[in-house]
Subunit: 517 residues, 2 copies
């Protein structure tokens, strides 16, 4: 058996049965070996940013890694921004990056590149397999490494001669590490703080933003009167009717300041202490007010859910936390579309079990409130800030959860980085409905330009203007095989969204909205 | 004056007056400063691969660098593949990569990344400006460094506080190095070899593939009976009626073997000794036959044109080299399109002074022969092998040469990596005509799969099949504001190409062709 065959068999045996790929010549033996391992599904992307973002979205929903298959350093480079986002999402991803044959590297052929160097910034585990006999064990270790905890990007470089060379055998799965129990003393200490009269808040992130963690946090909140906050950009937040409500920290520092204004104790549970997304002249980078103390309940590899449960028990909490306030679903509005009326339509129609991939940026302001009363759903966000993540993540989430509807909420500017996602959605008949908020601008930059204190002249402003020529997303969607429609009123959006949700397969709705900036 | 203002003024004073950009928040002060320096033109790309590829194409035609303006490590990552190609093209490019404010970096905000680490593989000169007082001098040195020789990618990291901080002053240009004269002894030695009866060939690359170098090489060829070869993927090859004809080495090792079969002395002139693009089981990586000796006339920073002239003089060559054989232009064919009939139409209609950006891959086989008799034109190719280069390079070339028609010959698969180029072409009203060869497959990979000796099963073959859903490039072009048409016969192509060449501004022609594989 050659290296590629042993590698793929090993991946499948370790539970990795989905490969998002954009391969090239150096990956041909891996591609050929796919036919020898029927359990491995191969999904083609036309651009590597789609491939890596899909692996991120898949992992967020499947709780296990997909593998990517990428073409040398240039393919990895094209996928780097979404690997950055995956790293920030702390999800498991296994990259397989093809390389030239080991003996070919000294010849410095045109595509020769420093793959390990390019991977270094995003990949916590990186290895180049030296021989066909090594590759299966390397792959098993890559899968184990990707689980962390927390999840991480693991990159296995696969030289072509290691792929095609004989003498390989599959390797047994390697056990991943488990999360570590938080010490009793930490729990006791935090419980003591929460029992005080001073106002406290839990800042929840990462793996505690699912039902189990939220329920435990809800018990803590009820027992100690503690506010429940979530990190600004969670990888996956379960929410909706019946789940304890948590308030995400705002993107703008001013919002966070207001949210933390009277908090005296901020308890971190798999979340980082809040910092400003960008630096602004004369503004602080850290967003924790001076009078607020920060305490860590769980971080890194800690079992945050268990810690929250122990904390609730220590506080003498009942078995059920406070259910959040019952939030009514919005009525479907009428009239010309705005970002807010899009949010109301989404809030009114979001189906049970939906997965929302949200890269709507400035158009997102009222989305949280409008969807708070919707049936239980998952919300996936722009973890690393590198735009072009939303549509690939939606694609991967739909692969992971074929029975759940996926709603991809996209800004026009962000959509154009990885718009090729639509073709993969059509090819795989994925149940993704994309709503593109087309405000014909990089609205966020218009906002940021004034926030950094810069004086916008006409040349500067022109760089945020996407109106000339206008992007026609209906044409772009149809050009990649996705049924597409443009809407300009709330009624039209509701009608098209109902149609899209009722019908399997991908759809695109271009929502023409004014910029909020 | 703040750092950004001094930086842009310094760039303009050093002859860098074009900025291809996709900026973000950390670049807002640079963007704002654009209005203070009217000479700097800013051109927006919707994706960074367009930005960096355009800077490459610009430099190939302008012989001076453009600057890119990119958003932290993720923006640089998105542009990495085309910077790899620019590095291989040995053209000058100056990247300005915005970063967080220096004091913000320890907070590890979401977009924090190791920019220098990501740049390392493509950038020969990398520096992060430490203070506003440093940035202008750093920029002047970056420009000088980018010139090499040979040309290279220089990357200046611009922290936001260096950009917005006061106390900066413009810096005077720093002189670039000149090319070095090749020693008389080297010229004498090569002349002696060429005077022998053994068959010799010049392998020309880089800067000698323009009129001056080609003319000198033509004199050498006439005096010594030496064959004139060119590297496989030149950054810019001047060719057409009246210029000495050179034969590009083939992409496939088998072709190169045939081309070098009876050559006993291969003389490198700013070209590398030929190597196989990829490794194949049981095939050699180096492509120089055993009986052939390789000699270097000029390399690296050497003045290859001067060396060729000295060599011609040493051989007693006359003032004019042999003009190549007069090649008739093809007639316009009729009937259903094939890659060959597209080539004939292009050969028949290519206008004088055209710039051809060629990423037509498997569809390109007869292009060279069919265009050999066309009026003098420039041919730009896929220097680094990272596909997605052709349309951005065409974009940048059109910016550099507004009075020359640009023909962008694209494969369907390659087009989809940086298809956003079309929007910039429309926005800037660039005179680029794109012909997309749509054979609905990654035809090159079908070819390579059999060449590497892999057995293609149905899963493998499906990964090279782009027919489901079919890509509609007319819709994609129109979706980005480019007038677009589909053609299925040679007559239709000729008609549409005539229209496109007669009319200013961008056009797209989708040429439906069968795959040659």
């Amino acid at each position: 058996m050659n290296g590629a065959q042993a590698l793929i068999r090993t991946l499948v045996d370790a539970g990795v049965d989905t490969c998002f790929t954009n391969p090239g010549t150096s990956e041909m033996h891996f591609v050929s070996a796919l036919d020898t391992v029927p359990e491995m599904r191969a999904i083609l992307g036309l651009f590597e940013g789609v491939v890596t973002g899909a692996a991120d979205g898949y992992a967020r929903m499947a709780d296990r890694p997909a593998t990517t298959l990428l073409h040398l350093g240039s393919g990895l480079g094209n996928g780097l921004a979404n690997l950055h986002n995956a790293r920030r999402a702390r999800v498991p991803v296994v990259n397989i990056v093809g390389d030239h044959a080991t003996y070919h590297l000294p010849f410095d052929a045109p595509l020769t590149s420093d793959i390990a160097g390019i991977a270094a910034g995003v990949s916590t585990w990186t290895r180049s397999s030296a021989t066909p006999a090594d590759v299966a064990r390397d792959a098993a270790e890559a899968v184990a490494a990707s689980y962390g905890p927390p999840g991480r990007v693991a990159t296995l470089i696969l030289p072509a001669d290691v792929s095609w060379g004989d003498g390989a055998e599959p390797s047994a799965p390697v056990s991943a590490e488990s999360r570590k129990q938080v010490s009793d003393s930490t729990v006791t200490e935090i419980a003591k703080i929460l029992r005080s009269d001073e106002k406290s808040a839990l800042l929840l992130g990462g793996h505690v933003l699912r039902r189990a963690g939220l329920s435990a946090a809800g018990r803590v909140g009820q027992a100690a009167g503690t506010a429940l906050l979530a990190e600004t950009f969670p990888a996956r937040l379960q929410r909706g009717a019946g789940l304890p409500a948590v308030t995400r920290l705002g993107y703008l520092a001013e919002f966070v300041e207001a949210q933390l204004a009277d908090v005296r104790h901020l308890i971190l549970v798999d979340a980082k202490s809040p910092v400003s997304f960008f630096a602004y002249p004369g503004k602080p980078s850290g967003l924790v007010p001076e009078q607020c103390s920060v305490h860590v309940l769980a971080e890194g590899a800690d079992d945050g859910v268990g810690a929250l449960e122990a904390l609730a028990d220590a506080l003498g909490a009942g078995p059920e936390g406070a259910s959040g306030p019952v939030v009514p679903r919005p009525d479907i509005p009428t009239g010309p579309l705005t970002a807010d009326s899009v949010a109301a339509v989404v809030g009114a129609l979001l189906p049970e079990g939906a997965i929302v991939s949200d890269e709507s940026n400035t158009s997102s302001l009222s989305l949280g409130a409008m969807t708070a009363g919707a049936p239980v759903h998952d919300w996936l966000t722009l973890t690393g800030g590198a735009i072009g993540q939303g549509m690939p993540v939606a694609t991967g989430a739909a692969v992971a959860c074929p029975d759940r509807p996926v709603l991809s909420l996209e800004s026009d500017g962000s959509a154009m980085y990885t718009v090729q996602s639509l073709w993969t959605q059509a090819r795989e008949d994925l149940d993704v409905t994309t709503i593109v908020y087309n405000n014909r601008s990089y609205a966020i930059l218009n906002l940021e330009l004034s926030r950094v204190g810069a004086e916008p002249g006409p040349k500067a402003k022109a760089l945020f203007d996407l109106s000339e020529p206008p992007l026609d997303f209906v044409a772009l969607g149809r050009g990649m095989g996705v049924p597409s429609a443009r809407v300009e009123t709330a009624e039209e959006l509701a009608s098209q969204l109902r149609l899209a949700l009722a019908e399997d397969g991908p759809h695109l709705i271009e929502a023409v909205v004014p910029s909020i900036v």
